[in-house]
């Protein structure tokens, strides 16, 4: 096997087959991944959820994961947000000529490991190789299908006054990790990306109650962006209690040094969940049982005034508006 990916590997001939077999099939092996033009899959009664996501994160490897793991988590989590058990994924790779084969294999291994954990099968894929400089290292697009659980109906339009706002863990880790990996500010901190597949904790939440109004994964733009999206879509106000928002000390320190707001730093393994406040404590307890959500917390509530706005209770007990999301702080974050 060559040490680097070459244009020949993307040409469709013998070397392409070699690449697919040695790197992808070797790791993604499951009965639905065949040599045919498409996977043939049974359809269950009910509704399916269908989603796609492109991944161009730079750097492609970072503490806590790599672009491969991210590409599985991102799509699995989008399906989970609809209450859909993730079933099948496809993945399309665009690889830069000269990309190290060893790294490609590590990425494939990560993807399979994550897929297994999420209970999802990679059943279709595609590989293209672009000339040097035509793509930056490696880009991955994953598309996923899931089966929506019965009795479940989540949507950004369904938040209601009286709902509690829950976040499933400490915020801003992924954004912070990428920022530090780019080594632009000379800051050293032990922060790892929160990148994680979240169907497991979603299923646990639904076991506690089907009455979950909104689940959204906080990715680019962080939790703050999600809150503004929901406030607008559901035409409600949201009031946060800043003291209750879980932020790791190191993330807080980096943000303090650089003047950043953790609520607007990307996450890749955090859900924002809206449930009636009476059920919230039970949901939190269920979440605490899982390693990906051990810091889950109720961070605020939905109110009927100030629709479309997110306000915060401040350190002096007063109230202020959370500034609306601006442009993306960090390009190529996921």
């Amino acid at each position: 096997m060559d040490k680097i990916v070459t244009l020949a590997h993307g040409a469709g001939g013998k070397q392409t087959s070699e690449l697919i077999n040695r790197i992808f099939k070797a790791h993604f092996s499951n009965p639905d991944l065949t040599a045919d033009d498409a996977a043939v899959l049974p359809v269950e009664a009910g509704n399916i959820a269908f989603t796609t996501d492109g991944f161009i994160v730079s750097p492609y490897e970072f503490p806590g994961g790599n672009i491969g793991k991210l590409s599985i988590c991102g799509t699995v989590n989008d399906l989970s947000c609809m209450g859909a058990k993730p079933l099948y994924l496809s993945c399309a790779f665009v690889i830069e000529e000269g990309f190290p084969m060893e790294k490609l294999e590590q990425i494939a291994v990560s993807m399979e490991k994550t897929a297994k954990e999420a209970g999802v099968r990679i059943v279709a894929g595609d590989t293209k190789v672009a000339g040097k400089g035509q793509v930056d290292n490696i880009f991955i697009t994953t598309t996923g299908i899931g089966h929506i659980m019965e009795g479940v109906n989540t949507s950004g339009k369904l938040a209601q006054p009286g709902d509690a706002v829950i976040v499933t863990g400490d915020i801003g880790r992924h954004g912070c990790t990428i920022l530090l990996s780019r080594d632009e500010f000379g800051i050293d901190a032990e922060i790892t990306s929160d990148c994680a597949p979240l169907w497991g904790i979603t299923e646990k939440m639904f076991e506690t109650t089907k009455e979950i109004h909104v689940i959204r994964d906080a990715t680019r733009g962080g939790v703050g962006t999600v809150l503004y999206e929901i406030a607008e879509q559901s035409n409600v106000g949201i009031r946060l209690d800043t003291e209750k928002i879980p932020v790791a000390g190191e993330v807080s320190g980096v943000c303090g040094m650089l003047g950043l707001e953790p609520l607007y730093l990307a996450c890749e393994g955090r859900l924002v969940v809206f449930v009636p406040k009476e059920i919230a404590p039970a949901v939190i307890e269920a979440l605490h049982g899982s390693p990906y959500s051990k810091n889950a917390a109720i961070i605020g509530e939905v109110i009927s005034d100030m629709p479309g706005k997110v306000v915060m209770k401040t350190a002096i007990g007063s109230q202020t508006l959370l500034p609306q999301p601006g442009g993306e702080l960090l390009p190529r974050i996921c």
């Binding site: 500010f185 980096v254 303090g256 650089l258 003047g259």
Partner: protein
């Protein structure tokens, strides 16, 4: 980008220091502070320590309100 932040001094090497803000560390210039020791707290701005911090803001407030 010009925010000032309070930080704990972890180590000193000539006129640079490594500071720690809740676990995030960075090398900064300590050229403008005399008699700095590890464990001291400093106010950092634009990569340099501009002053030593001598007490918490809570006790500072108490002293000021008492003197009023």
């Amino acid at each position: 980008m010009c925010v000032g932040i309070s930080a704990r001094v972890v180590s000193i090497n000539e006129d640079t220091a490594v500071i720690d803000v809740s676990g995030a560390k960075r090398k900064i210039s300590a050229a403008l502070i005399e008699d700095l020791e590890p464990g001291d707290y400093v106010m950092v701005h634009a990569g340099i320590a501009i002053a030593k911090i001598t007490e918490s803001d809570a006790s500072e407030t108490d002293h000021i309100m008492e003197a009023l």
